[in-house]
């Protein structure tokens, strides 16, 4: 799984390099074309080498190596599940900030996240309010910065 992941990352770089190369050829002056073109070229070469190493490595072994097996054991589904869960939490937090602003998103996220992590109701509520107070104190009062109010309640 880890080897496949490494291959995917190498392919990501390869696609990025090809895309950069095509895009840079469309720029107007050669001064603005040259550097992105060279850098894209280097990315393509290096990504191909990296992808080649992975494909060659996988093909040569045929079956998953001991290293790969142990990695699957250690990093397998539990880690992937945890990764998916935390990504959902972070995305939900961003969406909440975007819709309702920091003043609502901070206590709601902190409370529900801590509850989900098995913290006591009062602890979670206290921490959520304390965090809101801290952010309001530091950013709005201390740094005189206006925190985002969200598209639902804000002026934007």
């Amino acid at each position: 799984m880890k080897a496949k992941g490494r291959l995917l990352v190498a392919l990501f770089f390869l696609i990025l390099g090809i895309y950069g190369l095509i895009q840079s050829l469309a720029f107007e002056y050669w001064e603005s074309v040259a550097m992105p073109l060279i850098v894209s070229g280097v990315i393509i070469v290096m990504a191909t080498v990296e992808a080649g190493k992975e494909i060659y490595g996988l093909g040569k072994k045929g079956t998953p190596s001991a290293d790969l097996k142990s990695l699957i054991k250690i990093t397998g589904t539990a880690e992937l599940r945890r990764f998916a869960l935390i990504t959902v939490w972070v995305t939900a937090f961003i969406l909440f900030i975007y819709l309702f602003g920091f003043r609502i998103a901070i206590p709601v996220y902190a409370f529900f996240y801590l509850k989900w992590r098995g913290k006591h109701l009062l602890f979670a509520a206290f921490f959520a309010l304390a965090m809101l107070g801290f952010v309001y104190g530091v950013f709005e009062l201390g740094l005189k910065a206006s925190l985002f109010q969200g598209i639902v309640f804000g002026d934007r």
Binding site: K2, G5, R6, V9, F13, L16, G20, Q23, S24, F27, E28, Y29, E31, S32, M35, P36, V39, S40, V42, I43, M46, A47, V49, E50, K53, A78, E79, R82, F83, L85, I86, T87, V90, T91, F93, I94, I97, Y98, F102, I106, Y109, A110, Y113, L114, R117, K119, F127, M131, F134, V135, F139, L143, A145, L147, F148
Partner: protein, 498 residues
Amino acid sequence: MLEAYASALETLFQPINLAVLLAAVIFGLIVGVIPGISGLIALSLLLPFIFNMPLEIALILIIALHAVVFTGGSISAILLNLPGTAPNAATSLDGYPMSQRGEGARAIGASVTSSMFGGVIPVFFALAMIPAIMPMIMAFGQPEMAALVLLGLSFLGILSSGSFTKGILSGMLGLMISFIGYHSITGVHRFSYGTAFLFDGIEIIPLVLGLFGLSELLYLFMKGQPTIALKTVDARLTDVFEGAKDVWRHKWLWFRSSVIGYIIGVIPGIGAEVATWICYGQAKQTSKYPEKFGTGVVEGVIAPEAANNGKEAGSLLTTMALGIPGSTVMVIILAALLMVGITPGPTMMDEHLPLALTLLLGIALANIVGGIICLFAAPYLARIASVNLDFISTGVLILIFAGVFTVTLAPLNFLVVLCFGLLGLAMKLYGYSRPALILGFVLGASFENYIWLSVKIYGPLFFFRPIPMVLLAIIFLMVGFPYLRKAFPRLQGRSMRA
């Protein structure tokens, strides 16, 4: 020159700067003690706060925090066998067995004293080196700077990821990201797709917070958080001072380790982890009882701790004088310098010499203050390591997004943070160098400018000058050496014997 030293001391000892330094030291020690929360996260989180601060205060805050992170990390390494930061892993080898034998306080005394003086003495080496290197770096023109940036990218790319291709790929990705937006030479908008949001390019704060802050949180959660069983530590001050005396008893080992740490710090791209293991190894090799290492000998604590704090002065000197970050954390410090309007490199040493000296002296003072706090408060600091990481990660996540919005005022940057957080996690998991990406990003625009100015002034063969040729030769040697070793096995044999 003397005026610059006097001005630096005057700045550092202003009450407000001292107060900031003290606060940063306490924060740095706390961050260091907590396993999993690295100095990188703390420094990334500080970036939005320093944005509108006076220059000296902002930089003292960052430097002082970073200077003591490893000192704090040694406490949890010794008492809990959980290195607060990666370079403290070597300390736990002998520190933890000492703690199990009931000599935890002595180990902390030795570690803190070694860290404290190990962080101070190299500052004087750096201060002494500045007058010597000034004429050399002042001779640097555009071609030399272009070659230097390339050298920095190669060093950091290769050394921080352990793989040449992955290191270069990371640095090149950083360069590509830096090309997004308005091109200052031609006025062309590149990779911005007509979106106003991308006209000025990607901003540094969302990039750093995503790549180092969010990705570390995702990683921490993904790997599962360690449960730390809190132990009460019976630390008598007499035992702590016994540890301090141990450093005096092994003063040559301590001095050697500080010097090695400093030299490793000066070389760009080599992390504190390397410095600590090299010093641990040399302590073992030169010991009269090497077989006892790993069972709880105090020399095994003194050597790595002197090295990891000792390297910071060297790293900072390289970062400020050449604009090449001496270590991963120095990339963030480089970004911070650029954010507050200072371009590290010869210009900084010429136009902001007192500030550069203030930062070096700040490292020394932060180490002294941090050392004194640790000597008296280590057992209490150790309790912080048992704080539940759920609370910390929730707080850090909220601060990341609040900080990003405060500086950029653009909600779209939340997505930028998320994207770079995921990219950073993938890079961390698959061995790509995140510092090289940031370095490519922060140096991308100036690298392109150096290249075009060099072409305009000296023609396309601008690199046929002595210094760029030497620097390019170093890059080729560095890149080619592993292949040469494979091609000529005799080289490998020689290097192994050496």
